[in-house]
Symmetry: C2
Subunit: 334 residues, 2 copies
């Protein structure tokens, strides 16, 4: 094993604004061997998520920041190639925080097994992974949808948003997606069965919301923040629920985050805005996996992966998330 | 009756910024007589509330705006002096939207009876009125306090805030009030039994919160908005509840309302921010009245009224609410 090379992207400095290639140090190190309680994993697919930008900040959050010099944190799937841990054996396929590198070596904390015979591995990073669980628990447990509700999703062609919209349809809601570009909007309506779409790059979001949500918005699942959050707040229905899943428009800000000027719509409409972090639902993931797998098997839920090849492209591929270039779940094939 | 004069403040124009004397037309009209289904009330005390500023705006809200030329809306208590309504007789004391005038003439929609033998009439505008119900249902039903929680209240020496803090103490919470001035802060701690106070005029609110809430804030009851909301958001405990009752710092803004820049603290802390409007709880007011009356009788809850005499002072007295001059529930004695 020691002849093999482990390519790593380590956090070199905390970015101001967007992360770039300079944010990371590209390092080649020899692959080690597992000590007691450790496993060695050959990484196969890594999940690229907006949350990664937050992990680079030295700020109190729901999870510790990545330390300078550490391998950049990333969830992923891979195959165990050496093990000194009783629960994992060579050949097992696992899902865990593998990091942006070829090989993970360490204790498999929070790792669990997946099975490429049952579903393609990238699906365990999208609908059957944290992305799917974020959509499932965020929408159902925090959004509290009722059949007939009008549901609006921002970042709707993205990994989480596209799943939220489809779950909303399964639950009998009317679903409107906000996305950038005609292709994405067409995809939402024609492929995923959304009832309507608003192209924020081509039309005024306020006008689009007025057209698509004449009775107001009962549930808003927000990945974006900024102007789009403000526009939807202005159109809430009484007792609406706003799920704050992320704020991708604000993550690369060099100035302070911009708060939603229309927050007093919460008062007028007796509405609620609530944040969610998927790891709070870890004890209930089996419930989510089961429903999601069933819906996929029944053809009610489609998962779209945007797979980019090559670990070496990591910084530039990550940037696609923030420029709105990616389409579906962004996955890096190692 | 027709010889008597009814002094009225009518809405003359929609204010930009603070309401002033010019916002209203002072009019003297003869007092009319009730038609079928109507009552005539001699107004005795009027409730002055921050919400009145919102009613002057021509904007969609939880209640219709006051029309230009209409008597300015105000809740109040008074005595029925003529009646053609089966449920109200001469001598009944009533609570309702009497308006800023000497006499109310019209249908007693939403009016209910009060009893000055049981409690002084101004109390029916404070702890035993909408103010008390706002505190009771907003804090208990939306804030969902648990014994041991750290509760922060803004506008804590005001009508609603002072009651919220006392209910929180009754429920076994640790209570910190934010108010302007040493007198108010002393009053909160020495008279009302708050555990701590932050004088936003004399100290940095962030530092005060750090000192008074070392374990974070579990429930924040906000009447103020602006910088104070932002400061408390930055100090939320996991799963915190933020009750948006009002935003007095923003009501007189000439520019757009400023949104809370730290709203992503809701995400990091899986916290919730929710608006409340007291009228949603009308069907449960008896429950609130009963508890509040019991707590007052037991000496557990104090109600402080700031009574200003003279209907003619209305515009200037109302302004006290926004300058932070008043102390307790602001009531106008007609």
């Amino acid at each position: 094993m020691s002849a093999q090379i482990n390519r790593q992207f380590q956090l070199a400095q905390r970015p101001v604004g967007a992360a770039t290639r300079d944010t990371f140090a590209y390092v080649e190190t020899p692959v080690g061997e597992p000590g007691p309680g450790q496993i060695l994993v050959k990484n196969q697919y890594l999940s690229l998520d907006p949350a990664m930008r937050g992990w680079m900040n030295d700020a109190k959050s729901y999870i510790a920041p990545v330390a300078i010099g550490d391998v950049m944190r990333a969830l992923g799937v891979g195959k165990v190639i050496a093990s000194q841990h009783p629960d994992f054996k060579v050949g097992d396929e696992v899902n865990g925080a593998l990091g942006v590198q070829d090989y993970f070596l360490g204790e498999p904390k929070g790792f669990y097994k997946v099975d490429s015979q049952r579903a393609p591995l990238p699906l365990y990073l999208s609908a059957l992974g944290m992305t799917g669980m974020t959509a499932y628990f965020g929408f159902l447990d925090v959004g509290l949808p009722q059949a007939g509700d009008t549901v609006v999703v921002s970042g709707a062609a993205g990994a989480v948003g596209s799943v939220v919209g489809q779950i909303a349809k399964i639950k009998g809601c009317r679903v409107v997606g906000i996305a950038g570009g005609a292709d994405k909007c067409r995809y939402l309506v024609d492929e995923l069965g959304f009832d309507g779409a608003i192209d924020y790059k081509a039309e005024d979001v306020n006008a689009g919301l007025k057209r698509e949500c004449p009775k107001g918005v009962n549930v808003f699942f927000d990945n974006v923040g900024g102007d789009i959050l403000d526009a939807v707040l202005a159109r809430l229905a009484p007792k609406a629920r706003v799920v704050i899943c992320g704020a991708i428009s604000q993550y690369n800000n060099k100035e302070a985050v911009r708060g939603p000027a229309n927050y007093l719509s919460l008062l007028v409409n007796r509405a609620r805005m609530e944040g969610m972090v998927v790891m709070d639902y870890a004890h209930r993931f089996q419930e989510g996996f089961k429903d999601m797998a069933t819906w996929i098997a029944e053809g009610k839920l489609k998962s779209k992966e945007d797979i980019v090849e090559g670990l070496e492209t990591f910084p530039e591929t990550l940037a696609k998330l923030f420029s709105g270039e990616n389409f579906g779940k962004l996955v890096l094939k190692v």
